[in-house]
Symmetry: D2
Subunit: 339 residues, 4 copies
Amino acid sequence: MLIVMKSDATDSQIEAVLSVIEELGFKGHPMPGATRTAIGITGNQGAVDPSHFENLAGVAEAIRVSKPYKLITLDLRPEKTIVRVGDATIGGDELAIIAGPCAIESRTQAFAIAEAVRRSGARFFRGGAYKPRTSPYAFQGLGEEGLRILADIREAYGLKIVTEALDEAGVDLVERYGDMIQIGARNMQNFSLLRRAGKARLPVLLKRGLSATLDEWLLAAEYVMAEGNYQIVLCERGIRTFAQHTRNTLDLSAIPAVRRVSHLPVIVDPSHGTGRNFMVTPLARAGVAVGADGLIVEVHDQPEHALSDGAQALTLEQYDQLVSEVRSIHEVIAPAAVG
Amino acid sequence: MLIVMKSDATDSQIEAVLSVIEELGFKGHPMPGATRTAIGITGNQGAVDPSHFENLAGVAEAIRVSKPYKLITLDLRPEKTIVRVGDATIGGDELAIIAGPCAIESRTQAFAIAEAVRRSGARFFRGGAYKPRTSPYAFQGLGEEGLRILADIREAYGLKIVTEALDEAGVDLVERYGDMIQIGARNMQNFSLLRRAGKARLPVLLKRGLSATLDEWLLAAEYVMAEGNYQIVLCERGIRTFAQHTRNTLDLSAIPAVRRVSHLPVIVDPSHGTGRNFMVTPLARAGVAVGADGLIVEVHDQPEHALSDGAQALTLEQYDQLVSEVRSIHEVIAPAAVG
Amino acid sequence: MLIVMKSDATDSQIEAVLSVIEELGFKGHPMPGATRTAIGITGNQGAVDPSHFENLAGVAEAIRVSKPYKLITLDLRPEKTIVRVGDATIGGDELAIIAGPCAIESRTQAFAIAEAVRRSGARFFRGGAYKPRTSPYAFQGLGEEGLRILADIREAYGLKIVTEALDEAGVDLVERYGDMIQIGARNMQNFSLLRRAGKARLPVLLKRGLSATLDEWLLAAEYVMAEGNYQIVLCERGIRTFAQHTRNTLDLSAIPAVRRVSHLPVIVDPSHGTGRNFMVTPLARAGVAVGADGLIVEVHDQPEHALSDGAQALTLEQYDQLVSEVRSIHEVIAPAAVG
Amino acid sequence: MLIVMKSDATDSQIEAVLSVIEELGFKGHPMPGATRTAIGITGNQGAVDPSHFENLAGVAEAIRVSKPYKLITLDLRPEKTIVRVGDATIGGDELAIIAGPCAIESRTQAFAIAEAVRRSGARFFRGGAYKPRTSPYAFQGLGEEGLRILADIREAYGLKIVTEALDEAGVDLVERYGDMIQIGARNMQNFSLLRRAGKARLPVLLKRGLSATLDEWLLAAEYVMAEGNYQIVLCERGIRTFAQHTRNTLDLSAIPAVRRVSHLPVIVDPSHGTGRNFMVTPLARAGVAVGADGLIVEVHDQPEHALSDGAQALTLEQYDQLVSEVRSIHEVIAPAAVG
């Protein structure tokens, strides 16, 4: 925290700031300048709330310096976390591919898609049993029946099941039927859900919120870790901007940004990240090229009949092509991305 | 829904689109133009999912026409809803003022502020017992002890209690101790919470999400109403934009926009909407001038010692001044805003 | 400028930073903390470019402290600037109203509207002779013929003429025919145009760019002032956000934000700021209530036949109603807004 | 254009809309639905202005259908444009690399960097002689002296010179000394400059504006083409969003989006697109992987002493590494990106 005083601040106003700093148990470092005085604060463990200072007489601005997170940082753990789901991993040398339909619609549909996902060499199958839908009148998922279909797919194909929990009760169910708990963009700051996931015995896939800053996203992961669950994979899935040619703007700079501060693996969702079928493969290539640890992709055997998000789902043929293209890029950039 | 065909679409591609429309039980209206054919769809009750069409051969674009909501609309209920909380109302002739601290920190603090709120003539007291905090290490509220203090304030001052529920269990508690359930911006699309609030016996204050479009916000209200609770007040509290001079950008155009389509009352939160003490009163004036049904404002007896959001809380003196200013404006514009 | 060192920065890295600071002619203030060292910089007149430091070994972050502007600040001139256009003023006690069509389309149209503007008591007439249009195929304005019509309106009605210059040659023309040079949102960072306006003998109306931060906007004014023209009025006209219910999001917090740092008057454009007819009057009321020095509003005698921006223009009746409503609010808030 | 009537629109209101359509010389297609009538418009060549209809009685909404551009479209020219600059090309099989410093600071600096750029096999050298700077007090470039240095670099190394024109006079100068006219993000809607560039005898590099939609960007290119200059390269350089971990958010989805509608080549600027040195190479890889025709990159021999934008410039070593990485990716994806 750095307190910048107004240019006409009096000595007694500066003294008053220093004594508030002392009351809080920190140490103030006054630093007189040509036109104004700034006061540095040290001795704080976490972030200092700027509101302690912003309205004091003579204060122009309070600027944060320390970052508010601890457990997710490279300071704490310099080597990258490898999340293990049975014998599959995310964050290691292998490019992780999580594929499947947006929603589980029927056993037939799910098995047809799972068959293709397995054949592609991917290790993870995704599919929603409980869907967060903007409208209460849209298809809300098959519920527990969907989870049972997912469990059967794991049995039949050996794929690891990644599926979303919408609330605390949903985490119980995913623990029973699945392998990895997805927390969706709209729930990224559902703190009750984050705390429950922090007590779960499964790894967590934490999607970035539609308008989450990097800090907010990392702090959401910090909520999960603070409860004891260290197995977290971050997922960039597009942010909300003024742009209209996509459903969301995929922010690939988030991948090097996360790498710079955190040991957690990070993957990319080019399906929600664009919302448009013809963009998914180019952005998947870009996601791997930028250095992501994996991809989560929507695939459907009949996208034109999909009950949700059909416009962005790949056909099975398009999906096969995507896997082949991203694997070539991963081979080429693997050594570079490690740095 | 309007399907726009590519300029080189063949007759058989047009036929294929028409037969998908029929399969879905709707009626297609082909409309050949100079350079391309468009196809209108009628017969649908709710919105048609554009993904049924966007990837069909020959289709250039699928454009939504119908709006996806029903219960919140003026079509359904042309007269404005007046939400009643005991003998206090929101949405009627009176300007509703909801004031209090961000978080309940102690009995002494809460009573000191409630005293001033009561004296100002406001009918509602706000205060968080469970706080959604970006960081797991920040003050999370007093919990049920905070709710008990709020209940005592109701007893002592006759103020109606507005307080936030963070999850389904939280709704149970607010039903026990409070008068109105606040759903925060970060939970605007927490659909499990919305459904639970839809079954509650108390009115709901539904804040707009940080990056919620008008449609998404109204559909969140539709979730609550679809469960049977029609007593909803919308609250504009600022959206996330590139601008850095405020914590959020207060979008006052949302008030006439809501009025244009919905019968629900809508209020403004100039405290979170700006995040900066010196902006709260000017934006409160603007919120009343634009035609809002009320305000929700953070007040603190010692803002510089507040445990959360101190930078935006008004002192008791500033709050009194605000009430006096907005009341003058409300008197002047009351007839205009009705139109 | 504050340089934050990494937690593992060595003493010699800190020394290296200090010597770069010295080379630049400034003074460095090392400030060792519990986990890391920060170094303050003083002695600089303007802003220090952070890029001198960000890539030095051991540096975590370089944070700006000084603001980069001078002439627009209250530090330089504590009393508010009153811009004088003949006997009319902007920034004084009177609420300035600038009204007229988006584009001058014909002598008949312009005179019909000017008649109504004059009758309303407004002192300024707006109208574009050169229009910045997104498409090269849209109506581009009448050019010099439009300026001649504007000059005749000044003659006939005594209204002051505010009209846009799109380039340096355009400033010459406005100097010949008009009273105030408008610089549009799309040209807010057209630095050649800003410098030319800085040499003009007329006051400048400087609109905020669609995605301009407060600092960028104030620095654009600084460009004009640095050339010697101190007669500037700022104009908030909406920013680009994700929101779709308006053409732009009117950011009324910009008015108190400008007041806090600058002596320049600031007005609001509720027409471009919303882009929708039914929102113009409510947002005009809000703009006056928040404390703006005036309004610029689009009016048309036949909005449904307007050659540009018809959807947002008020009819003459709607305009009269607006003027009456904002005048009532201005009377009520005048003393408050001064503070 | 599609006119959607309100659900309670009367027959005579529908008739009135139809007669306005006829007056404009178009043909109306009424299409009665279950709850409301929609009216399609055909016969128009370009876009119809929605404002002709939005305020007519009974009209709920006017929705654009036709796109407003012509010359940039694949409809007009199905094969991709290859921009030729002497014997170098952008848009063909070769990956175009444009590299150099942000600003030309001295002959020594420029030659040192040009030497490295030439050695890397790149064909284009970039460098600003006139710099658009947010602050009037920041380094504004060497002016014509900078252009002379650039011309000498062309002579010495055979590199094609890409440099920015800030205004119409600047285009004259670039025509004299350079090979390609850069139009910067802040000038993307400086229509006088676009028209002048449309009459230039050199190709144009048109950067996307900070908050430009896809349509606005393509229409800016349309302005240039409408004057007769068909040699245009588009450049994605990051957009302004709420995100704070980068200077801009690089929107790589713009590349497939442009491909879908236009024959113009499109390149990526990972330097301005991120603003941070450590992100440039990962995002350059992503830009090539997504299918861009080339890159424009800032390189400096001493980034820590650069007079502008030093924080994002690569060192010569980092630049060599970048070229090697993006070339490997280009080889792998070349066939895929063509599709």
